[in-house]
């Protein structure tokens, strides 16, 4: 029983980080209608950049965050500016942007593989040790990533509802043309959206890499998981995404702990299938 509780707690912590990933994916899709297949690659790059600064250069975690997150933001900005924006005039935009981001994922992943090699690498944990609360044992690292992730989700929610940029994003997600009419710079806002999404993905890469390993081609699994969470929670609902991510994180922990890690991706797919059959718009989603 205690082991079950530990497993669930660990899974919930994992889930909060997945929520960051899924929110980044949903944010880009909601605001700029791009289905970003390179989302997993942003995750991978975040992790490898952290590896460079933490392990190779021996910096501390705070310094690493301070360096890597702005870099990821700039990469996101650059990607939007150079690849996505020129496609926007294409009548078949949704589809061409999918392929462009697929090409980007290919490019980024194999660049990583070429630079760092295929050997598995690990990051040190944020904090060592473990805490006990009631009967549940949890590593401090897991607790820390859960706290950071939830804080960021809350911050993102406040940002989207209160700040000027956040409101522009929401306006664009409702109606690009109408938002442009009232003086919102669509292109610039799309760029920031990409930057924020890339930064979130990169951050998630740093938080999760001490638990898993760094793999140059590991982004696909992350992308698939983010997909499932977005579908489960429903597009366009932050609270749905967070709840879905936590549930799925716990399910994944249960499958890994009791059936075997190799079945976790199959489990994700079964859940996706069930969601789409029973409730295609997800827990809290709305059809556009």
């Amino acid at each position: 029983m205690a082991q079950l509780a530990d497993t669930l707690a660990g899974g919930a912590a994992l889930g909060t980080v997945y929520a960051l990933l899924a929110l980044g994916l949903a944010l880009i899709y909601g605001v700029s209608r791009v289905f970003n297949f390179a989302h997993g690659s942003f995750f991978t790059w975040g992790a490898y950049l952290a590896y460079v600064f933490l392990v190779r250069l021996g910096l501390s975690y705070p310094a690493t965050f301070a360096i890597v997150i702005p870099i990821m933001f700039m990469i996101g900005l650059l990607v939007e500016r150079s690849i996505i924006r020129p496609l926007r005039l294409n009548p078949n935009f949704v589809f061409t942007s999918i392929v462009a981001t697929l090409g980007l994922a290919f490019f980024m992943d194999y660049l990583c593989l070429r630079t760092f090699g295929g050997r598995l690498k690990a990051l040190p944990q944020l904090f060592e040790g473990s805490v006990r609360y009631g009967g549940v044992v949890m590593s401090v690292h897991e607790l820390a990533i859960a706290v950071i992730s939830i804080a960021l989700v809350v911050a993102l929610a406040i940002f989207l509802s209160r700040s000027r940029l956040g409101m522009s994003m929401r306006a664009l997600s409702q109606d690009i043309f109408g938002a442009s009419l009232v003086g919102i710079y669509a292109g610039r806002t799309f760029g920031y959206t990409f930057g924020i999404s890339a930064a979130l993905a990169g951050l998630a890469g740093i938080l999760l890499s001490p638990l898993f390993f760094l793999r140059p081609l590991g982004g696909w699994e992350i992308l698939a998981k983010s997909f499932v969470i977005v579908a489960f929670g429903g597009l366009g609902s932050m609270q749905g995404t967070l709840i879905a991510a936590i549930i799925l994180g716990m399910v994944e922990s249960l499958i890994t702990g009791y059936i075997g890690a190799v079945w976790s991706l199959v489990g994700w797919f079964v859940i996706l299938l069930l969601v789409l059959i029973i409730r295609p718009r997800g827990l809290f989603g709305v059809w556009e």
């Binding site: 090409g103 290919f106 994700w268």
Partner: protein
Amino acid sequence: MGITTKINISRDLRIALIVLAILCLLPLGLHNNPYVMHILIMCFIWGVLASSWELTNQYAGIFNLAQTVFFIAGAYMSAMMALYWGISPWLGLLLGGIVGGAVGIAVALPSLRVKGVYTALLTFALTLIIDPMIRRTEAWGTGGSEGLHAIPAFQLGGYVFTPLEKVPPYYVALAIFSIAAFVLYKVIRSRVGLAFVALRDAGPFAKSLGVSEFRYKLMAFGIAASLSGVAGAFYAHYTRTLSPTAIGLDVFLVVLLMMMIGGGRFPGAIIAAFALTFANEFLRATGTLRPIILGAVIISMIVLRPGGIMGIIDSIRYSIRQRASRAELPASKSSPGKGVG
């Protein structure tokens, strides 16, 4: 990316026959080069896969990202039937088509229930889990991570197609490729193809005229999936070995690129398949740099040439026509005929 409704069958037929004749005679010139023959055979296989994919995604407008799954289903089914039950590979081609089509329908049923990006999501998830699925189902005879080896080759009378002799499989591949291209061409030019395009370009209007969205999209999935299944079955008996690593995510990506770079009109994906298969081989020497270059090529192609290969062909044709009409203009102003419009 509208489709030309003006049909010029005689011209299409002429081009097709010329290409077919060249492809038939090609082995004569390359007889002692099994390597080039092998690449050409792979071009045919990927050509079938990419152009049938084009049918669902570009013509029927479905965000289908599971086309390689149908290919893999056809390949494994035919290979396992031949290995365990001794069923002839020729029959396996047919079987691969049936199984591919059945899997296609099975995937289509839930995928068509949902819309747009959700379809992409569901089908892509299927593509992602097929690899771990195969690795876990060794008990069912899929060979697991090790893969299947010594898959029976094609036989004709007493003659067994060995991997060293590339000419007989070349003609089998060419035949499959030609038939698939013909079927796709016929479907696209038929009322069914028209219904696909109508549903894609003006969905609500087409539906209001009584075009059943579900039926036609299911049909698109079925046709595309069975053609891919046949290609998969051929692949299995030609390479004689199957493993999740050999037909993994990189194959998915490369074939997806062929389909996209084609430009969304019928022969586009086939031309792209030939170009990319050869490019892929030439880049083999660069090792791990290859996927990086491919990725960069894709991005620049999409950004700089959104019309794809067919777009390039169109613009070349347009400029030739322009030049011809300009050359003609001073000489004969009144002559009705070529070049104008």
